[in-house]
């Protein structure tokens, strides 16, 4: 269970570049909730995910996972609870290391890293099976350096890394935005499958309204650092892009001016 309680974050406070990125964000995700996050550029979607991940401390408010306040923990300590996939496929993997080595590092997320072998034989087999399920042929290239793979393949590996040790919350930050449409669809399909099979609690930021509607059991829309819409259950199933646009106008009192969101389909 993830609880965000009245979180505020302002960047460059007191300067001309002051940016009130989060202005009282509250959100509660139950176990197994798969929540998609949409909103225009600068709405605070990625900022909210970074606040959860602890990239920097928040100004006010609390972030709790399974009832435990983690807002005072540095990023590397919070990693114990979180699986993360980033927009840039290069960000989630170590290019100079083999596929298995990357997975082995991720499998030890939140554990003390001692002087045992970095990759055990048993693990290798386990990863081979997991990769085979992806159907990308990666199980035959286990010792390939990740830097030699395509963006889509790297993102698939990052996805597996984020979930190889079951996270309390999975954070997907526009993780298909840098991929071509076909690969993006494949990675999204994989994400959906993994989330459902492992019954993960997940937050997925996307610019694609159709994706946001199609996936997950819950959808939130952000604007100017606030959550302005929260749709779930049956209501979400019946949602259309036009509904969303209408609702945005209703709540924000303005037309949604974001080509990227409107054009994406």
């Amino acid at each position: 269970m993830l609880e965000i309680i009245d979180v505020y974050k302002t960047f460059n406070k007191g300067t001309v570049n002051e940016k009130k990125a989060l202005q009282g964000v509250s959100l509660k995700l139950e176990d197994g909730d798969f929540c998609t996050v949409i909103g225009g550029n600068g709405a605070g979607k990625s900022t909210m995910l970074n606040a959860i991940a602890g990239v920097w401390p928040v100004d006010e408010g609390a972030i709790c996972i399974d009832g435990k306040d983690i807002s005072a923990l540095p990023e590397y300590k919070r990693a114990k609870y979180l699986g993360r996939v980033f927009q840039d496929p290069r960000m989630g993997t170590v290019a100079d290391m083999e596929i298995v080595e990357n997975l082995a590092i991720a499998a030890r997320r939140g554990q003390r890293r001692g002087l045992r072998w970095g990759v055990t034989k048993a693990e290798r087999e386990q990863y081979r099976e997991m990769l085979a399920e992806f159907d990308l042929g990666l199980e035959e290239r286990m010792t390939t350096k990740v830097g030699l793979l395509s963006g889509g393949q790297r993102q698939a590996i990052t996805l597996l890394m984020a979930t190889v040790k079951k996270p309390q919350v999975l954070l997907l930050d526009e993780h298909t935005a840098a991929l071509d449409p076909k690969t993006a669809a494949k990675v999204l399909e994989l994400s959906d499958k993994i989330i459902r099979e492992h019954n993960l609690t997940a937050l997925m930021v996307t610019h694609n309204m159709k994706d946001a509607i199609k996936h997950g059991n819950r959808l939130i829309m952000m604007n100017e650092g606030k959550i302005i819409l929260d749709i779930r259950g049956e209501e979400k199933k019946a949602l259309t892009v036009n509904d969303l646009l209408g609702k945005f106008e209703e709540v924000a009192g303005e037309k949604l001016e974001n080509d990227r969101m409107l054009l994406a389909d």
């Binding site: 991940a53 990023e75 590397y76 300590k77 990693a79 114990k80 979180l82 993360r84 290069r90 960000m91 989630g92 993997t93 170590v94 290019a95 100079d96 290391m97 080595e101 082995a104 590092i105 991720a106 030890r108 997320r109 939140g110 554990q111 890293r113 001692g114 002087l115 045992r116 072998w117 970095g118 990759v119 890394m161």
Partner: protein, 326 residues
């Protein structure tokens, strides 16, 4: 003309072969130093200038302790610890105080200059094999090579094991992708400090062996050590990749670092044999390292250059115009 003839006739081929074992012995000792540089430069992606100071620290500690009657093994071990402490200082300056890596290294290096002088009490401390029980010495070169190689082999085995462990893997991932490492729960400040400590420990160990080999510790013995270390690493990698076509595993890469150092000292012996003034050797080293560092960049630029596109375009244009005429 007569000058050239007299120059060549003054060169003594047998002297070149006679000095070869000495070059190799020095190369092996500096190869151990280069293994330390490999940890920071290649694995951590951190150009650590501490090594110029910590190499001399290793020599200084060893010379002073051996003269004080401490057993040579203990002196070597304490040198290693002294180097680890030096690396720790650089690591803490960088991670706790936020000082950029290169500057943190320079600060420790300059501080070590004073510390090394304090350890020795003067700028040069002789420890001759005639008066003290040294482990290796230039007077027994073959034995020195053998012992040096044993040290190098043990260190390579240790590094192969360590960087395959969970902790070693986290150091490698820190060097390659710090953001991802944090997201995987790695405290990158800790991994950086460990790597710097380990690296400088090895460098000081090499300094200890070097002081024994040459029979003295000197305040300037580590000057330019980082450049020699880089030279060894880069020469080793270039030659290793040429032979193995990038298929080198980690242990082979480490072996080639030592081979790189040996080749460097053989090349150095060669240019000295060709009567290059000793004063110019550092200039020579700098040029060699600059060339080897530049090669991969220039090769890449040759493959991917705007000039190449311009040339290709000009060619197309010519062919196009020819077609019009006909």
């Amino acid at each position: 003309m007569s000058g050239i003839i007299s120059y060549f006739s003054s060169l003594n081929p047998s002297a070149l072969f006679a000095q070869l074992p000495g070059n190799i012995a020095q190369g092996v000792i500096w190869g151990i130093m280069a293994l330390g540089v490999f940890i920071t430069f290649k694995l951590l992606d951190f150009a650590d200038l501490t090594v110029d100071g910590s190499f001399a620290t290793g020599g200084a500690v060893t010379a002073v302790l051996i003269i004080a009657g401490v057993p040579v093994w203990a002196a070597i071990l304490i040198s290693l610890v002294a180097g680890i402490l030096a690396g720790l200082v650089t690591g803490l300056l960088h991670t706790l105080l936020g000082i950029p890596g290169i500057l943190a290294g320079i600060l420790t290096q300059i501080a070590l200059y004073s510390i090394n002088l304090n350890i020795m009490g003067k700028s040069n401390v002789p420890v001759s094999y005639r008066n003290y029980p040294l482990l290796i010495s230039a007077s027994k070169i073959n034995l020195a090579i053998l012992i040096g190689l044993i040290f190098a082999a043990v260190i390579i085995i240790f590094m192969y094991w360590y960087f395959g462990t969970e902790q070693g893997s986290s150091i490698r991932s820190t060097g390659s992708n710090p953001a991802m490492s944090k997201a995987q729960g790695i405290n990158i400040n800790v991994t950086k400090v460990i790597a710097l400590a380990l690296s400088n420990g090895l460098v000081a160990l090499a300094g200890s062996l070097c002081a024994q080999y040459q029979g003295f510790a000197d305040i300037n013995m580590g000057r330019g050590a980082i450049v020699i270390g880089l030279a060894a690493v880069i020469i080793g990698m270039v030659i290793g990749e040429a032979i193995f076509k990038k298929g080198m595993n980690f242990a082979v890469r480490l072996i080639f670092v030592v081979i790189g150092a040996i080749l460097y000292y053989i090349a150095m012996g060669l240019v000295l044999w060709l009567k290059m003034p000793t004063d110019d050797t550092k200039l020579f080293t700098a040029v060699v390292v600059a060339v080897f560092l530049a090669i991969p960049y220039l090769q890449e630029r040759k493959r991917n250059s705007f000039k190449k596109v311009a040339k290709a375009n000009a060619k197309k244009l010519l062919i196009g115009e020819g077609g019009k005429d006909a």
